[in-house]
Symmetry: C2
Subunit: 228 residues, 2 copies
């Protein structure tokens, strides 16, 4: 029984990887760099994308967003109001709420994404620290947002997510003076599960670190080695 269960799940993940590769081929053919942006509900994913949308990039880098949400188009509307091309995936239709994007959901949305008009596509995943890390969607890069309000223990509790990403945005830095939060402890835990992973302390409220985040994205769009 237990063995059967695991076999089914492996099958699901295999099928997902096959579709993810097809997505990746489409992104590469169109010359679009794709970033899968993950994090808890309310970590600040959309706010950090709004900063990117507001800033000026080097000429010729065209930025779009694919929004995954269980229900509603609030985040998509926030970004569309900044004149960013946004495509919305509502995951709620299938089961009363999927907790992550998978490669097939992204594939179903691709006809509505203007790939030919983009250099960079950020896919904002459903707010969740577990399942999004298990499903590749064809992305080139995985980035996560972890808010300082979530506590220092999160890398130890959700190690797969913190290991899956190649950049960790530590958001809401403006709240540090008001929290019992030890940044050194978070970084220690981060290095315990993903040694040396690049990290940026940012604040969507004050704009701290946001230029570096935008530059990281622009380097990703230019297919330059990503670093911070």
């Amino acid at each position: 029984m237990h063995r059967t269960k695991i076999r089914v799940v492996e099958g699901v993940l295999d099928a997902n990887d096959t579709i993810a590769r097809a997505n990746r081929d489409d992104f590469d053919r169109a010359g679009v760099a794709v970033v899968n942006l993950m994090g808890s509900p309310g970590a600040g994913k959309t706010s950090l994308l709004e900063h990117v949308a507001r800033g000026r990039g080097p000429e010729g880098v065209r930025f779009g967003v694919l929004e995954g949400d269980v229900q509603g188009s609030l985040d998509a509307e926030r970004l569309a109001s900044l004149h960013v091309p946004v495509t919305q995936i509502e995951t709620g239709e299938g089961f009363g709420g999927e907790c992550h994007l998978d490669a097939n959901m992204v594939r179903s949305a691709l006809p509505s994404v203007p790939l030919a008009e983009l250099d960079l596509l950020v896919v904002e995943n459903v707010g969740n620290l577990v399942c999004p890390a298990e499903f590749r969607i064809g992305e080139h890069h995985r980035v996560m947002v972890s808010s300082v309000t979530e506590g220092e223990d999160k890398p130890l509790k959700y190690p797969l997510m913190f290991r899956a990403c190649e950049l960790v945005l530590i958001n809401k830095a403006d709240l540090l003076p008001h929290l019992d939060f030890d940044l050194g402890k978070l970084l220690y835990h981060l290095d315990a599960v993903h040694p040396g992973v690049p990290r940026l302390l940012v604040s969507a409220k004050t704009g701290e670190g946001v230029d570096e985040w935008r530059e990281w994205l622009l380097r990703a769009a230019a297919r330059e080695p990503a670093a911070v």
Copy 2:
């Protein structure tokens, strides 16, 4: 294909409900009131339970915790240090991380829970605003913690979770002066998806609202109608 997929998921939920009923029967036979505590990663579920553990209840109300975590026993250790009987479920064993507790995981843990020595068992679910709302575990009550740092839009984005619970703890009230957060807007959205659901503004840091939260739990343990 689509129809088959939905049929499989319905089957999973049916099987879950059957096991949840068996759990509920066991809880009722033992005279233990069970509360399923849900919320985002870092919303403050464990901190609010620490407050309950530290406070004095009326004589004779014995309190225990069943901890669900993807990995590690950090939360269980925090509570055990306060002399609360804690049983730990690590969900990570099955698939590299389950994003919720289901009735069978709870059932598997029951032999390790000292039901005969408890009046109240709080099950701290995995931090996630989607799937925990879909899986009953045999609980009598469902409570969620929503932190003000997560933003006012969460009821609209995760309506199933906000509808599933009968009490919403709005945590981290101490941070309100430092946030661009409109409490009225959160409550408006909350009433849009779950009109009139009882809510308590609390702070695990300052202790605001924590006495009311403890009293709510004690009434639940006494099988009195829950209200705030």
